[in-house]
């Protein structure tokens, strides 16, 4: 297969953008990534847009053409992909495969979501579109509820404590302070988490990722294009893995291991020829603290059931065994669902380029882990400085 690399990145600040529209955010991120790569419009062969639910959030479908329209790209193929909260990484993988097919030389991949134009309860309902409407939403389940069931079972099986879950959020917030694009740039303590309102027992408010507006954009190109344009500092895609599982939680074999993470990671590790021990930096999908904790186990950074202790022993903090969510993660950087996967990739690319300043980590490889819903889809990508 052709070698492909990320050659440009750009994103908006994540947060509540009450004075910017969906299209404003998408254009801002897109232009930043074009400037970063020093490319022109004519270089871009196609536009991929990861977006979960613009239909529900802003009444707008057809969003890939819309973004191209406002970027002045009309005429090129425009592709929107959706896989709930993994929509961004799905767009990335489809862009990757399209480049490898030979259809394009360079493409833009955006992730974008505008979530604050509707009120909170409607946003929760929109997000529940990622769950099973007939078997889960119909009985009143929402995402905090689904992940609370998972967390409770993990605590029962492995003795994981609320304190250990809290420590995941604490680490995220600590890193977010050093990320100018993050939504919540302040530190929190374990006590803050445990004293925050109980959302769905055992998950507190500070175990949960927020509602966020934001857009993130990367430019992907083939090796030939990179050589021809003499582009410096490409960050290569070494592995791409994608998997799926049942949408309803009740149909899964296990609540405490995410099959999609294990399977997508297996595929990505195999393609890259790397192992978990080679990965020193990873952005993992912590829509809730328990999901971040399980990701560490399922990606192979520690054994199943030992995630709590792994965190407690200081293995995920900046510059430790494996630096997890140096961006602040979904919890503190923010979680504009369709944009999240692309933003994770941007963090890894910037880390591997050495552009992360106060949160910079020394790493040769980096990994992103993006989950849809309660684990019905997952994409894992592995990146490296060298091919």
């Amino acid at each position: 297969m052709k070698k492909v690399a990320v050659i440009g990145v750009g994103e908006t600040r994540f947060g509540e953008h009450w004075y910017k529209s969906f299209r404003d955010l998408a254009v801002e991120a897109g232009i930043k990534s074009m400037e970063d790569a020093n490319l022109e419009r004519k270089d871009i062969g196609a536009l991929f847009v990861g977006n979960m639910s613009a239909g529900k959030f802003i009444g707008q479908e057809h969003v890939a053409s819309l973004v191209a329209d406002h970027l002045g790209f009309s005429g090129i193929p425009c592709i929107r992909t959706e896989s709930a909260c993994a929509s961004g990484s799905l767009a990335f993988r489809q862009a990757l495969l399209s480049l490898q097919s030979g259809a394009y030389d360079a493409v833009m991949v955006e992730g974008v979501e505008k979530m604050t134009d509707i009120i909170g309860s409607q946003a929760s309902l929109a997000l529940m579109g990622a769950g099973d409407q007939e078997w889960e939403a119909s009985v009143g389940l929402t995402f905090p509820g689904l992940y609370a069931l998972i967390a409770r079972r993990h605590m029962h099986e492995y003795g994981t404590t609320p304190e250990q879950l809290a420590m995941f959020s604490v680490n995220n917030h600590k890193n977010a302070v050093k990320n100018p694009d993050a939504q919540f740039r302040f530190e929190i303590s374990v006590e803050d988490v445990l004293n925050s309102p109980l959302i769905a027992d055992p998950l507190h408010l500070l175990d949960c990722s927020p509602i966020t507006d934001g857009a993130a954009s990367v430019l992907l190109a083939t090796e030939d294009f990179i050589k021809k344009k003499k582009i410096k500092n490409p960050i290569w895609v070494l592995g791409s893995g994608q998997s799926s599982d049942t949408v309803a939680l009740q149909d899964r074999k296990s609540l405490t291991a995410m099959f999609v993470t294990i399977d997508a990671a297996k595929k990505a590790y195999k393609q890259s020829g790397l192992k978990p021990k080679d990965i020193k930096i990873a952005e993992v999908h912590d829509c809730f603290s328990i999901n971040g904790l399980m990701a560490i186990e399922d990606l192979g950074f520690c054994k199943k059931g030992e995630g709590g202790k792994f965190i407690e022993d200081g293995n995920i903090s900046l510059g430790s065994t494996v630096s997890i969510n140096t961006s602040g993660g979904l919890k503190a950087k923010g979680h504009p669902v369709g944009a999240t996967g692309i933003s994770q990739i941007i963090e890894i690319v910037k880390q591997l380029r050495g552009e992360c300043e106060k949160r910079q980590v020394d790493a040769k490889y980096g990994l992103t882990h993006n989950i849809g819903g309660s684990g019905a889809s997952c994409l894992v990508h592995i990146f490296g400085k060298e091919k």
Copy 2:
């Protein structure tokens, strides 16, 4: 690029399925296509699902994983694509490029939409998600209104008559009588169209495609897979073209020529090495009669402005110059938006295989033309019996 062919097709009947859910329809179509190709689950490397707005129609996103779940496919990569009413063909093209990248050997591509679970006015609002929310929907425009503007301008510039527009619908209904999967299996006359209620002047009710439930599925495979499995009668993808334009009508250079059709067709013709005169059968996107008429011009079957006369002179009927919409088209076969592009492909595949019985046409090549919204996206595919 690798050669890819359609090796299996299956669809539900199109219509109002009040006793079948979204997932029921998707499973029915999927299994039919598996039976048609005589493949097993383990042969399928990925599932692509074209769907426009399940979030609005049934509250459900994450639909590719959902369909895989209910087909028993969990574990494979699941990709939902959306480009309004062109979502199905977009899924098809992404599947094609993914196969050509080498990622998979055989994949399933479904299109599915369940539109009748909400009331008509809500369905119209959901469909308006394909237009520009800020510049079109906000002033009260709906799709009949947008296409009425286009039709009025076409009549002004080229003298196209309401009778000629009506003849497009008449041809569709005539063909639909011979298609057991069609929603409206009865003939209509020009007078019926002109006497039907005026929806948006000059478009009457019978100029407009209906609200429809339905699913359609095709299996796509590489040449190597087809040889290995000794699959008979593959229908080869000879050309694939995709283009985009502004979402809002006001920003277009022309109202009476669809840039996206012209551009996508140019790309598909070039890739296939074929010209319009080589095409004897085509499924074109007649969400409204005017769009079908313009497609005939923009695909090159007649000159710009002469579409009305071309139809009037009998050039689109079964077995004539170019047999248009032998399936019944969007007007009479029905238009479950996300499923439409795949259903168009199924009609062409069945025609090229010689399986269309009373509506069978003698053709070596066939073309599908699928538009999103009022022309912000378009995909054209060309198929042949030989590579």
